[in-house]
Symmetry: C2
Subunit: 314 residues, 2 copies
Amino acid sequence: MPDKLLRMARSAAGPVRRPVMLAIAGDSAAGKTTLTRGLVEAIGEDRCTALCVDDYHRYDREERKGLPFTPLNPQCNYVDIMEQHLQLLATGQPILKPVYEHATGTLGRPEYVVPKQFVIVEGLLPLSTKLSRACFDVRVFLAPPEEIRREWKVQRDCAKRGYAPEQVLEEMERREPESAEFIRPQRSHADIVVKFSPIAGRNDPPGTPLSAELLLRPTIRHPTLSHVLTDDVATAMHLKIMRDADGTPVDCLHVHGHAEREESRLLEEAIWADLADKGELPQKLGEIVPGQRSEPLAITQLFLLYHLVAAAQG
Amino acid sequence: MPDKLLRMARSAAGPVRRPVMLAIAGDSAAGKTTLTRGLVEAIGEDRCTALCVDDYHRYDREERKGLPFTPLNPQCNYVDIMEQHLQLLATGQPILKPVYEHATGTLGRPEYVVPKQFVIVEGLLPLSTKLSRACFDVRVFLAPPEEIRREWKVQRDCAKRGYAPEQVLEEMERREPESAEFIRPQRSHADIVVKFSPIAGRNDPPGTPLSAELLLRPTIRHPTLSHVLTDDVATAMHLKIMRDADGTPVDCLHVHGHAEREESRLLEEAIWADLADKGELPQKLGEIVPGQRSEPLAITQLFLLYHLVAAAQG
């Protein structure tokens, strides 16, 4: 029935402005929300829609009890509906997003979500299928070292979700095989892999922010930084060519936790200078929690903002 | 970003078989569910998906209390999401359909719906927009006389939803302006308008089934019946040319409630004979409630089945 398709297409509203789509994938407590929060604040809520795609549960908590998989498993989720909703958002259309209530472990009233100019999608599985990946302009994977992630998860789940540390660690162990099978493979499909971690071999004083390591794949065009950064790894910020797991050359941008504000400002300006039509350099990036700031986080966020603005400019 | 669209399209699965879509629109208690039930039974649940599109509520019962409109009003519904879901079903894709719980008046866990070969969509507003109408192969509007509908609604809402007759009548009165503004105009967009009613001027004994009057618009090709039916209105079944409200010629098929089984069988065979590749004539149509059968309902259902099978055969 090609005529029906044609009628449907012709009856649809005229061409809609398609939003710029950013994916931030990563395991539980990998830092997705912290990274996203700063981006939304910099762009402004009037121009930015942020959503989490971890609500496409096929089963509620009660139903999952007898099942041989955790929510990390695609079989436990309506991945086809997640793909569908990502396509709809990517073409400027609203969705009725399912809502999973963490407090009760049940599925509740869905939420009407309209994509604004920028859409940031964070979650466990947004880069898990070919179709879902095709919906994004920029794909990010967060890959902190497992010991850092464990620390963050215990901290958050105990403080905000009322669990005991042993419970959290036990659950992480139970989920590990599915983390390995379904979450971590998304790393290879990211344009940018972000790793926040302490620098190996250094004994920075407690309270020093974690360093950021950004693996920059040539799957999208990154800002030119080789004129302001060298590959001298002894400096607080450097850019170094290396080989990706599959042998292709990639750049690796390092920003150490002890980098000075003055130093990082130069890098920020270089990143922003590469935009054709740049507004003011966004301020107030890098907030971990109110009052606690990290230069490496700020630069990571600015780097993603660069890509969002560049994609919007076509 | 045409490239993103292209990537999305190319990443999607190959061409899916598109289901045949039938809309049954009409006001509350117009007989939509009774009509649908027989169709699903005749086709078989393995080949037929039936759904009601009255669950796209923007507000729950509590939130509606202060609002100046009833659920009949498009403003009270996510009509854009209903359109979206109809398009998805029409192109063979699953949806996560919202669910309104009548018992509590709240929105609950959405339901995963996969379109089978035939999709029957009943509800208050499935023909209310140009885009929603474009999703259907066959569009039906149920238009019983208001006094019949009132009787049916009081009967059902008191028996099944625990209301008192005065409450039901009061609510109908409150809804009347929106019935006139939003529900009844869909009649003009139907390929077939079905009216079950007693025959004016006849005093059939109580228990005589209602007659069916099918207005057949030339917007789709109907089975040829003029060789078995005349326009002699004194007979129990007749076919009569008349002018539609806008002046275009339409056919009007009448099946009286007192039609004999033998007589109606001839008509059924004539309807079915018009199919290129006909299976067996479906039996057991026309059930109003278990044990109570109506020839006019049976023929109406068969007529719709003809259209479903014809559309499937292209």
